[in-house]
Symmetry: D2
Subunit: 179 residues, 4 copies
DNA sequence: TTTT
DNA sequence: TTTT
């Protein structure tokens, strides 16, 4: 767990959609969220107000993934601190592709919900609505990674890049395998 | 220049190769560098020492780009602070691709050489050797972006992703156009 | 405005009280706020839940000070990014004392209100309530630093340390004088 | 080990003197270092180049303290990441005083030596010279905090503030007691 | 796709 | 002195 160099990302922004929770074969949770940050400025040439939004792919692991799944929702404001990680995957034509994510994990990972009083998910009895996360009908241990990937591919296609399989599974909070 | 949210990256690491300096049509400098950070750990299963290196694409603009070109070299240790930015480009087959970079620019961008006394380029009389950067034989104003891009594409191909053109040119230190 | 080394503080927390706004002889605004961050843990020995709150003295300058005065209130959640600065002052007995603050200022300073919809001050017609800030009855230019300091001394005494005079006035957003 | 809010300090700078290593009653190591960061600018009024150095008190705990003691020296360049902490102590006249330090500790603490090959302590056979740190003639367990404090007080007096005793001992890497 |  |  030593490291040479510093690789740190700090984001504060709002979720573009509800978190997607999955489970690794080991049973560790993974939450994928997208966070928006934006800059606005006055265009010198036209004098108009302009705005540009940057979307960040963030992957949380272990306990933080579970908290994200429970409390974060589309629109939630959040602070995350993690590391940059670029992973290689193959598209349908077998070509190499790369996706860069912010990995929030282990000792260095931080996730804090912002904005106070209950901006997130209902704490109470509505947990049935969470059925599409983590496949509650099946024990978490059975939820493996690859099948879920397949399902997501089509819709992700329209976005940016299919979610690659975590062939080398990222370190769960209790594991010693770094990313 | 207002912003909603925080988008901050901090890296400390070593350059994988000499900086590549180019000039935008406006004359503003752009330096592309790759920074390595690494983690090492003992594999629980095998007991072996393992190491994983992460490579970061970093783009510096304006004055910082010029300083990078003058003083940084392959192996230089550097601190950079910038923002995450994902840009879309088209590959040869016209397919959309995305590349994420750390943009170091303007007021929020920071670049500091580390390691003290002259780890980088010779400060003294060898500045002629910089001829291949920034095409000093021609006035900087003539160096536009696209042609240079073409030249770089082949070698970059082997790496990760061709360097996309900056169609929407990133803000030079003196410009009001954000990234 | 060059710098050797990195001096960066990032805080996310809540204000312990309303901001105190003052004006320097130059007319530049200064806002002093206190931000709480806290840690909670289970005491190994007793098994009890414990919590410790850290209070941070933060000084904002220029535009950010004005925004703080207008929108932040006791309890507001805020992100600030600034620099550590320790200043020397003399107590009543003439002894040297030191106070460390987070200075949020100029290009590197960041202040973002968190928590969304109107957690702060009313945007509308209640601005008269702000009368005790910045002495609106008098032109800002007349509000100088030292007198205000005198008034605050007694109450501050009970706290931590009297607010020292800014003998070497900190850089306003438009100044070139660093802190 | 939960926390509400973010309390983060990042420093890159050089040590003003050799680290001072002490041991807590528990046997955990504590290293005190001072780090300089500086800003330089051109004075608008006089046109002169000016420089201001900020000195930071940093306390490292546990393993990081040991590494600091072994490898850092006066002049060493270092990256540290920690938390702001203000502690109260009494001066000779019994008056309350406050000292703010950067605490580098536990999971969130980071310390990285910069500048590459052997800028710090001799890696080789000179480790006997470290005898004045950590009192190697006596078992670490016997080195308690308070006596060492007494010795340091006089010289520290000239500086900023006597090193307060850690009455509530800060969390060692293996402890669950936060700071 | 978020937020103001 | 804040917040949960």
């Amino acid at each position: 767990m030593a490291s040479r160099g510093i690789n740190k990302v700090i984001l504060v922004g709002n979720l573009g959609q509800d978190p997607e929770i999955r489970y690794m074969p080991s049973g560790g949770a993974v939450a994928n969220i997208t966070i928006a940050t934006s800059e606005s400025w006055r265009d010198k040439a036209t004098g108009e107000q302009r705005e540009k939004t940057e979307w960040h792919r963030v992957a949380l692991f272990g306990k933080l993934a579970e908290v994200a799944g429970e409390y974060l929702r589309k629109g939630s404001q959040v602070y995350v601190e993690g590391q940059l990680q670029t992973r290689k995957w193959q598209d349908q034509s077998g070509q190499d592709r790369f996706t860069t994510e912010v990995v929030v994990q282990g000792f260095n990972g931080v996730m804090q919900m912002l904005g106070g009083r209950g901006q997130g998910a209902p704490a109470g009895g509505q947990q049935q609505q969470q059925g599409n996360w983590g496949q509650p009908q099946q024990p978490a241990q059975q939820n493996n990674f690859a099948p879920q990937q397949q399902q997501q591919a089509p819709q992700q296609q329209a976005q940016q890049a299919p979610q690659p399989q975590y062939n080398e599974p990222p370190m769960d909070f209790d594991d010693d395998i770094p990313f």
